[in-house]
């Protein structure tokens, strides 16, 4: 049933009285309204602002949130009101929809915010009233275009596994992607310029030699110009062929405007090569040279403004057509008038109507060369009318074209601006995200510290180091921790990761640094065994050898995290193991995996970051820790003699 007329239902039902006496059979039983609810005031609390309305008002539109039983989910028993945690300003227009039956779009509201509100309350945007619908649709389209532009940016990203052809195409389309492309871009631009200048200079008269008349430079230095021309055409041909090769759809490429321009630019040369022998067509050959000027259009690949201009002209085709048509009409009219007006005059230049066209055009466009002037009075009168009307006729369609150009140009500017801003935005967003990942790593370390402290520490130390995390954070970290345990890998940040990469690279050298050996073994081992090493990672700052006191007390080292899969850890996090100097080779015998120990030395909070090592093996994890957590100490690898110090921990 149509919405909004629910209020009239009693009337419609009452009007059925007209059927009763006529009906021959008994009527069905009417449904009873058992609720017998009196119309009551409903309080809608939207983020603190209270709206009140009758229940029947809301019931008018039963397929929306407020009109159906869905609002019961938001009912607050204590305060006996419906609470919605939404924007109260936007809610106003939504509630007014129930009241008046018309949905209006407030212009100051952001289009996507408004859309979201509508979706939340189950109202389809199509019922926006006519007064506001156009505005709404316009803004929505604008927004969509903007988003589409942003998406198209992503297409510029280098996709992995692009074959040579695709790379080439990308290089052609976006010269900024690689240096080679940029070089190519500038070289072709240079040669286009050279070619155009050559064509121009060819016709300039160079000083005469023995002959009387001036020869144009082209005929004087024929060979030089020919070589120049050949070179340019070579370049252009090569470029065209390369583009043709790289194009994803050759057929479409060949049909595109730019490629047609390319072809037209180089074709005259080849035709000229073929036709030099035949004298008859040399006239035609000369004409062909005119087409060489089309090379200048090749610049439109290099200039965005030119492209915009071309696009504008294309989009204003109807206005231009109108301009042309009206001009033609006016020209014909005035030419006829002038011709007949000047017919009487004796030496008039207005010999025929087509001859008068020239006068009319020159006058209407306010050029006024003066080669043809009316001599009779009537002619002069009509001539002045002609020039006045010319201004009008031309002035009318021009603003339309100008506004079109302006709109397209600004759109382009906006697109460029957005592109530039996007990078900065993304970088900032990434930093913010990294904050949360780092928080996890941070809390891991703190967690270990806490464990350690529980074992041994004093109260105050514990409190000092405990960073209070919110419940949300701790639950999130727990989740990440579970993932670590599941996959037998650990999260590290980017620095660690890279260092580990470096180290594994160094692995190949047979130094007996424990770290390296750990890498060796860690490759391909699946389960991590706790490698307890006394790692002296005292102050994370320098990798300089810091002779590790093997254990300076219980609090100093703690192998914290160990991931094991399979083999149960032979050591537990206990003090006794802290000093365990393990023989690496023996140790790392696991199947595959990572050795993961996080070693934390107390005195320096934030504690050491777990070094990542053993980056081989299934790296599956999640967002590679963002660059540069400020507190992250750089890798501590201290290698000292004979296996006393282990450095790191590999966390994945």
């Amino acid at each position: 049933m149509a919405t909004g007329v629910a209020a009239w239902l009693p009337f419609a039902r009452a009007a059925a009285i007209g059927w009763m006496p006529v009906a021959n059979c008994p009527m069905p039983v009417a449904p009873r309204d058992n609720s017998k609810r009196q119309d009551e005031l409903i309080i809608l609390n939207v983020s603190g602002r209270r709206f009140q309305t009758w229940r029947t008002t809301l019931d008018r539109y039963p397929d929306t949130l407020l009109g159906s039983s869905e609002k019961d989910f938001f009912y607050n028993e204590e305060t006996k009101e419906y609470f919605f945690d939404r924007d109260p300003d936007a809610f106003r227009s939504i509630l007014n929809f129930y009241r008046t039956g018309k949905l209006h779009y407030p212009r100051h509201e952001c289009i996507s915010a408004y859309d979201e509100e509508l979706t939340f309350f189950g109202i389809i945007p199509e019922i926006i009233g006519d007064c506001c619908y156009e505005e709404y649709k316009d803004r929505k389209r604008e927004n969509l275009e903007r988003l589409q532009d942003d998406q198209e940016e992503n297409k510029d990203m280098k996709m992995p596994n692009m074959n040579f052809r695709e790379t080439m195409w990308r290089a052609f389309e976006n010269p900024h992607t690689s240096t080679m492309a940029l070089v190519f871009y500038y070289v072709t631009g240079f040669f286009i310029a050279i070619s155009v200048i050559t064509n121009v200079v060819e016709t300039v008269p160079c000083g005469s030699t023995a002959n009387q008349k001036d020869m144009p430079c082209g005929e004087r230095y024929t060979v030089a110009f020919f070589c120049m021309d050949t070179a340019c055409v070579m370049i252009f041909t090569v470029e065209y062929l390369m583009r043709l090769f790289a194009a994803p759809s050759r057929y479409r490429f060949m049909r595109s405007v730019m490629s047609i321009i390319d072809v037209v630019a180089i074709l005259p040369y080849y035709i000229g090569l073929v036709m030099t022998n035949n004298e008859d067509v040399s006239g035609a050959f000369v004409t062909l040279r005119v087409f060489r000027v089309f090379r200048i259009f090749k610049f439109s690949r290099h200039s965005q403004g030119l492209r915009i201009l071309g696009y504008t002209l294309k989009s204003c085709a109807s206005e231009l057509g109108f301009l042309l048509f009206s001009l033609t009409m006016a020209i014909i009219i005035f030419a006829t008038v002038m011709f007949y007006a000047e017919k009487g005059s004796s030496s008039s230049k207005f010999t025929s109507i087509p001859a008068s066209f020239w006068y009319t055009i020159v006058t209407m466009t306010t050029l006024g060369y003066g080669d043809m002037v009316p001599k009779t009075i009537a002619g002069k009168i009509f001539g002045s009318i002609c020039s006045l009307s010319g201004v009008l006729v031309i002035a009318l369609p021009v603003p339309v074209i100008v506004s079109n150009f302006s709109r397209i140009y600004h759109q382009n500017q906006r697109a460029d601006k957005r592109r530039a801003q996007k990078k900065a935005r993304l970088a900032r967003i990434r930093i913010a995200k990294s904050g949360s990942a780092n928080a996890f790593l941070q809390s891991k370390r703190n967690g270990l510290l806490n464990e350690l402290l529980e074992l041994t520490g004093t109260e105050e130390d514990e409190q000092k180091l405990t960073k209070s995390t919110s419940l949300l954070e701790s639950q999130h970290h727990h989740l990440l921790h579970c993932l670590e345990k599941t996959t037998a890998h650990e999260f590290v940040d980017e620095q660690m990761y890279e260092q580990n990469c470096l180290e594994t690279a160094l692995q190949t050298y047979p130094s007996r640094s424990p770290s390296i050996s750990s890498h060796d073994s860690s490759v391909g081992t699946c389960c991590g065994r706790r490698v307890k090493r006394n790692t002296p990672l005292p102050n994370a700052s320098t990798p300089s050898a810091h002779p590790i006191p093997t254990h300076q007390g219980p609090l100093q080292e703690l192998s914290a995290i160990h991931i094991q899969c399979g083999d149960p850890p032979s050591h537990s996090t206990s003090r006794s193991n802290l000093n365990l100097k393990t023989d690496d080779s023996g140790r790392i015998n696991c199947k595959g995996g990572r050795i993961t120990t996080a070693i934390i030395s107390l005195p320096t909070p934030p504690a050491l970051t777990p070094d990542g090592d053993g980056l081989h093996g299934p790296p599956q994890r999640r967002p590679p820790p963002p660059p540069g957590h400020p507190a992250v100490p750089s890798i501590q690898t201290t290698t000292s003699s004979a296996g006393t110090n282990i450095v790191k921990v590999s966390a994945l």
Binding site: A7, P10, A14, I17, M20, P21, C25, P26, T56, T57
Partner: protein, 213 residues
């Protein structure tokens, strides 16, 4: 709370506001009903019911009166399949007791009160009034035929079994057969009342209106 109760709008006023009368633009007619208390006396609705009714009425028709177009519009929304305009027209004629081309809230609510809360006799009287198109006290065959056509039009094309063209006429015949006791070709109010009161079905169906509001 009782917006209308508090305001004792004195007399019914009918005043015209002509906006831009030169261009013959909008002319809004604002009509205010009598006070709530008087309406309570005149109808069988309670104060609360009248309030609800007025709110709905005023919301749909802010100017305070319903014209035939609106009537037809509203009715057509309830019967999307057929053409309800004729029936709506007849209804409008029946509601418009003052015959001034518009139905005010009072007309509306008084008629509603009769239909929904009135006695059986009142209801039947009202129905007779609806059928009697020229209000001359008797229903002729032509009038009945028009009414019947309008009712059948509301059904639309897609019915089961499919509508025969003669269906309304047959129905009119059966109606007259039932009602017209003295076979004079018209049905008077007495014949109508008498027949209806004897008919079980009709009596039964009259009770259907008890719970509409």
């Amino acid at each position: 709370m009782s917006v209308m109760g508090a305001t004792t709008l004195v007399q019914t006023e009918l005043f015209q506001q002509l906006l831009d009368s030169d261009e013959g633009e909008l002319s809004t007619v604002c009509y205010r009903p009598e006070g709530l208390d008087r309406l309570v006396q005149q109808t069988k609705f309670s104060k609360k019911e009248l309030q609800v009714l007025y709110r709905g009425f005023k919301n749909e028709c802010p100017s305070g009166v319903v014209n035939e177009e609106t009537f037809k519009n509203i009715y057509s929304q309830f019967f999307p399949q057929g053409d309800s305009s004729m029936y709506a027209h007849f209804l409008f004629e029946a509601f418009d007791t003052h015959n001034n081309g518009s139905v005010s809230f009072e007309d509306f609510v008084i008629s509603l009160s009769i239909i929904l809360r009135g006695s059986i006799t009142d209801k039947l009287n009202w129905a007779f009034n609806l059928y009697d198109l020229n209000k001359d006290g008797c229903i002729t065959r032509e009038e009945m035929t028009d009414i019947m056509h309008s009712i059948y039009d509301m059904m639309g094309k897609y019915t089961y079994p499919s509508m025969k063209d003669s269906a309304p006429m047959d129905h009119v015949d059966s109606f007259f057969q039932k009602m017209d006791k003295n076979n004079d070709g018209v049905v008077t109010i007495e014949e109508f009342l008498e027949t209806c009161q004897k008919d079980e079905n009709i009596m039964q169906s009259m009770h259907m209106f008890d719970n509409v509001i």
